[in-house]
Symmetry: C2
Subunit: 338 residues, 2 copies
Amino acid sequence: MVTLAEVARHAGVSASTVSYVLSGKRSISTSTRLRVEQSIHELGYHPNAGARALASSRSNIIALMIPLRTDMYVPVMMEIAVAVATTARTHGYDVLLLTGEEGPDAVRRVAGSGLADAMILMDVELDDERLPLLRDTAQPSVLIGLPADTSGLTCVDLDFRATGALCVEHLATLGHRDIAVIGEAPAVYERHTGFAERTLDGIRSRARESGIGLLHRPCGGGYDATAATLARILDERPGTTGFVVQNEQAVEPLLALLRQQGRAVPEDVSVIAVCPDQVAVQASLRLTSVSIPAQDMGRQAVERLVAKLDGTGTDEVVLIAPELTVRTSTGPAPSTAV
Amino acid sequence: MVTLAEVARHAGVSASTVSYVLSGKRSISTSTRLRVEQSIHELGYHPNAGARALASSRSNIIALMIPLRTDMYVPVMMEIAVAVATTARTHGYDVLLLTGEEGPDAVRRVAGSGLADAMILMDVELDDERLPLLRDTAQPSVLIGLPADTSGLTCVDLDFRATGALCVEHLATLGHRDIAVIGEAPAVYERHTGFAERTLDGIRSRARESGIGLLHRPCGGGYDATAATLARILDERPGTTGFVVQNEQAVEPLLALLRQQGRAVPEDVSVIAVCPDQVAVQASLRLTSVSIPAQDMGRQAVERLVAKLDGTGTDEVVLIAPELTVRTSTGPAPSTAV
DNA sequence: ATCCATCGTCGAAGCGCTTCACTGAGCTGG
DNA sequence: CCAGCTCAGTGAAGCGCTTCGACGATGGAT
């Protein structure tokens, strides 16, 4: 393993000079800088991460904690994770992957050992048990998702309240008067996942304002669960003409079921989904949807975090505005005459 | 930040003693051990990762490289990643997440900087550009997936050849004489992804042995692509009664299409999929499938790697035997009389 | 009683880097 | 013409840990 000292010797300078060339924290004459860079290249030198971390008390690692609870739609998580990793790299950071197994202890361990300089937490619950720890720690952190109490925290998330409202608004504008929400799995609501509750909130208040009839039913993923949910909804409110789906696993089953029942989309019923664009365009029908900007969330989280690490950047809540893309699954409500 | 020295002072022993208590590399009397452990607990001591890495030249970090090429089925990758992370933790390792962005340079950087002690590579191509680097490096590594030349490498993968054969065998036993393979996206084959080619290999040779007619068509994910692929297949070989699907994104569309065309599954046609169990049971029909043991692959990869790091463990190729679960999507071939 | 292992503990060296304090050399300006 | 800069470079301290060799104290074998 090539060391800094060897590079220094090879270039005929002192170790500190090499270090300064690397970090750029002091001005170095062009000639020596080139010489040092040349030596680094020739010897194939890579600074030792451990030594660096020890001396600078900066590991240049960001911990990413993905609890991966059941019933979460995995591709979104993954997309965020990848966005976090690649954005982090552009800022000179690597990403440490933490899963839920360890629970809050992981926070303590990582903060205590200096393994990571900062952390990003995904899949935050409204009253997450990791939050008190986070507030106590000096370690900068960013949440992806919104807890109930955001004081002293930096959070990045899609504005799910506005998302819910946007969906209802779109359907209302098209003349729908009775809509149903096919939601996430019951477990998601039971554990008070922020995004699910906030979406519902947005939907409810907008529906109330517009005087629209609303039914919300959680729905486990898959065909059978969706079939049961749909049956229940149509049983309770046969007049339902609009569906808001916030559950990627229910999208395709729902479309298949409606088709089977002879209900044409969008002529008879409209369907609007809250899902990644990819799901919306790959479905058997190009779905009108509010997309989940996974990439953007990952990127923003890292950028806030890096800002904090650099001293700029304060605690704040970043809500990404939802964007509705109209595709072919929504249309005017059928006239009641039919 | 509490240091080892403070713990030592608190416990009234020397620093080295504390270190030995932590590592267990020398025998320590029960009384002092307890005293030290007590101090560690009271002070809330966590060993500094950087210092440890520097002194021991072991970071206790495993790098996990996920290129995440297009058209890969993400949930499987994620499941593997999570299995890797949790298994690694049980062995005292953390996981560093590397994406494809950096390409082969990431291997060089991580190996050179001592950031990680070892690496796991996912989504390996038959002739992967990272392999030469890997062979050169002293760094232990394990591949998830099989390249063309496995000499000097440790690999873990599902036995996709056997998987392909198993699928054909199952259909053959049921009397099907003409089968079609709905494969991964064209791009997957173009870049010579090992698992896709090996599955096809297994399917082909088994079909040849059994004198079964075979048609293979790559298929982009989603409804439209699947529709096109299916139409082509039925056009070329109207007598096809069995489908092997190796593309999670085509499963549900295929079922929907068959239904629409009035072809009953499994009475008229049989469908067998190579996919995670979750996909097989959540589909609109409980699918006969060969499951992709993502968890197992992740776990085994880590265990081989840890064995290598411990000095035990040699280069070898671990092929996990495929398991076929018969569900309701396959049945006897319809008699030709019909 | 004596010798040699073994056990439990300590001190110190050093892992490879960053960073602070310092030193000349070369300028500028009064 | 020199005080007072800035600029480039050096040396050394030390980050917190592991680990090696040393050492006194036991204790079993001789």
